[in-house]
Symmetry: C2
Subunit: 283 residues, 2 copies
């Protein structure tokens, strides 16, 4: 199978490596809008050839949209339009972190069934072709959304791709996906960004504020290194869910604040004990 | 040298292991108020003997207070009182995460110079003697506070202990310590507790909310597993600094919320780019 990957960053690049290495793809074509990234991807050898968008859609059996979700919303209808004129049997999938907006953008497209919405839940805080690595997806969960809107053949192809990457597949609709990811992914990024901003602000007066930063701080602030190109459109497209979770989160912070301000150690202890129940979930 | 460690949890237990293994202590005595922990510490062989507080103070050359800071505030004056009657040349140090309250509690004690205030910046989210491990402190920073209030001999002894543990020592006063740790440690714990509470709340309606939790979520929520016995008194004793940092943090969250609610992608991008500057600090 010939696989075309549009966007050779962390996700697209890592997919390119493993799909070729594991024999899922005979040839991997890559499209990359950013010239620096394109030549890096070629130098590293992430893909067999860097080609134009047109060539990629024309030559590939399966096209993977691995661009930030803002760009995906523009590209997906374009790719399906080309399928309409010359793309019988071709498949396009995306790997974006928000799904409802994207689903809506092609809901009534005549080639909708050639598209599979998916989200591999793997990544790091780094981006670009330099961040790509083999085994990135190994053992993680992957979501296929609204599978009933895609042709069974297209779904089977994408399932087989994720099996190759050693991911376990979960099925849900786009709307439920976006609620879930707001809770277990998007809010974590916002809290890390806010933490980074808080301490960086203090550094303006206290030059050595970071001298004492230890593993705990690094762990909670790690996601604040995440790319604005990726996260600006995610927070925008999942706006309502993210705002709802942020409001709950701010309420919890206010409850903590009040308990500490009141010197109410029983209340503080109670909140910590409740939070400790996360031990059941996270090893 | 005979070292007595009061409190055989993560920190006390890990110190016991390395101080004996590396030859700093000829014998390590341990005191542990919790019977289950005491017998676990004996079974694991963390210390040579588990003894009473009295025996520990009488027999040890150096006493390490490795209990939560609420207990340390009660124990430190007691230990210094015993030094006053029979403790010439003995030294006591603590390892607590807040320092100003403790410093104030013995500021005018006649044996103040036999006490060294310190804080090894190492740990995990686990607690108890089972969590103790060799090498816990290796390569981390350690703070000695208000060293001018301690005798040079006592300071040298504690410096040598931390050299043995392969820590790099930083010096500052208690008040500055408490401001720093509020920013780079305490707030991280509060944000993790609040995150855990937010998602656990949602789990009441959405049983499978955690199915999609990935590495990013685990990383930001990890500290929410931390012990209430340790963290309730820290948040209480560092109340004013912690409240101040929480207020700044909540402001940053509100700014993010507003930008997302307004659909102002430029503002969201600007906040993320500012937060990205943490890359300079955290590798």
């Amino acid at each position: 199978m010939k696989v075309g990957i549009i966007g050779l960053g962390l996700i697209g690049g890592s997919m390119a490596i493993d799909l070729k290495r594991k024999g899922f793809a005979d040839e991997v074509l890559g499209v990359e809008a950013e010239p620096v990234n394109a030549s890096a991807a070629e130098k590293i050898g992430l893909v067999d050839r860097v080609v134009s968008l047109d060539e990629c859609v024309r030559e590939s059996d399966l096209i993977v949209l691995a661009v930030p979700v803002g760009a995906a919303v523009r590209l997906l209808p374009m790719v399906l339009d080309r399928f309409a004129s010359d793309g019988d049997g071709k498949i396009v999938m995306d790997v974006c972190s928000t799904k409802e907006h994207l689903a809506r953008s092609v809901k009534y497209h005549p080639c909708r069934r050639q598209y599979v919405a998916s989200h591999p839940m793997a990544g790091t805080e780094y981006s670009g072709p330099w961040a790509a690595m083999p085994g990135l997806f190994d053992g993680h969960a992957c979501i296929i959304c609204d599978s009933e809107e895609s042709s069974p053949k297209a779904v089977r192809c994408v399932e087989s791709l994720y099996e190759t990457l050693n991911m376990r597949t979960i099925y849900m609709n786009s709307s439920s996906h976006d609620v879930h990811t707001a809770y277990v992914s998007h809010i974590s990024h916002v809290t890390s960004f806010a933490l980074a901003l808080t301490v960086l602000d203090k550094e303006k007066d206290e030059k050595h504020i970071f001298d004492l930063a230890s593993g705990g701080f690094s762990s909670t602030v790690r996601l604040a290194k995440s790319s604005p190109d990726m996260w600006t459109p995610i927070l925008s497209q999942n706006r309502d869910n993210v705002l709802h979770v942020m409001d709950t989160y701010i309420e919890k912070m206010q409850a903590f604040r009040q308990a500490i301000a009141d010197g109410d150690e029983d209340a503080v202890r109670g909140l910590i004990e409740d939070a400790n129940k996360i031990r059941r979930i996270i090893r």
